[in-house]
């Protein structure tokens, strides 16, 4: 709880820095401030995918459900961040390029990542057996990992309109670094919370099953009750 409050305070500080400390960019004006959130959530979306695949690989190696909880939690937060990346990027593109969307390599590979994330959760939700779900989730997460280098290197490998690494004022760099660090810490905290919740869910299911088994046994033993 204390950690959560501290993280909310650091996010508010980061927001204050974005709106009050960062200088206004000459060509784009205030809309450029979207970049501080866009880069931070894009970073979290990609690291979420790497964490999901890493934990999935650990599950395949150890066959322990704890790794699947980590994998699922990282994937959910990664998917949320990728959604935010697409939304913030689209708003930025509308002001910078005059269009909400263009089939540009970085944007397209990011949309592919978002779609794979969504597909993984759709498939996971259709499987009841936890180990089968974890196994398939891990394999799909490892497949999803193949898209990460494409997203990262899209601006270098293919010709597109997405900026590569624009020249920035030192204060802007500082604000961006603070934003990336605070967002990463906040989303890492959410991953830990979600992982605990998934474990609790499994415990509830186990107790419910054992209660149901006990009730069934007592009904069979005493059919008039």
């Amino acid at each position: 709880m204390v950690v959560g409050l501290l993280l909310v305070c650091s996010l508010l500080t980061s927001a204050a820095m974005i709106f009050l400390v960062a200088p206004t960019e000459a060509t784009m004006g205030d809309v450029q401030r979207i970049l501080y959130m866009h880069v931070a959530v894009a970073w979290c979306g990609l690291t979420g995918c790497v964490a999901m695949a890493g934990c999935g690989a650990m599950y395949l190696a150890r066959r322990r459900l704890e790794w699947d909880y980590w994998s699922q939690a990282s994937g959910e937060i990664g998917w949320l961040c990728t959604t935010l990346t697409l939304v913030t990027g689209s708003a930025w593109a509308h002001e910078a390029w005059g269009t909400w969307w263009t089939w540009e390599p970085r944007l397209t590979s990011s949309l592919v990542l978002w779609t794979i994330y969504a597909g993984i959760f759709l498939i996971r939700s259709s499987i009841d057996d936890p180990h089968r779900r974890a196994r398939l989730g891990a394999v799909l997460a490892l497949a999803c990992l193949c898209d990460v280098p494409l997203v990262v290197m899209a601006t270098r490998w293919f010709r597109g309109v997405h900026p590569v690494t624009p020249e920035m004022d030192p204060v802007m760099r500082l604000v961006l670094a603070v934003s990336v660090i605070t967002f990463s810490a906040f989303f890492a905290y959410l991953i830990v919370q979600r992982r605990r919740q998934l474990e609790a869910c499994e415990r509830v299911t186990e107790i419910e099953t054992s209660v149901w088994c006990t009730n069934s046994r007592s009904r069979i033993g005493n059919p008039h009750s």
Binding site: V41, L80, V87, L190, Q197, A200, V204, T214
Partner: protein
């Protein structure tokens, strides 16, 4: 300016919705755990009293 604030508002609303869902599920889970613990406790009590009668 409207695009900037609109984007930040939408992004924060999405994050807030996820956090709210997390908190609500936590609450529901702890309530369900309490119910189950009570149910298991009463069953154990019933079983031990019937065992006492049988004994």
């Amino acid at each position: 300016m409207a695009t900037l604030f609109g984007t930040y508002a939408a992004a924060w609303a999405a994050v807030a919705a996820y956090v709210a869902r997390l908190a609500l599920t936590n609450r529901r889970l702890s309530q369900r755990l309490d119910e189950l613990e009570k149910s298991v406790g009463s069953q154990t009590g019933r079983e031990s009293s019937s065992q006492r009668r049988a004994g």
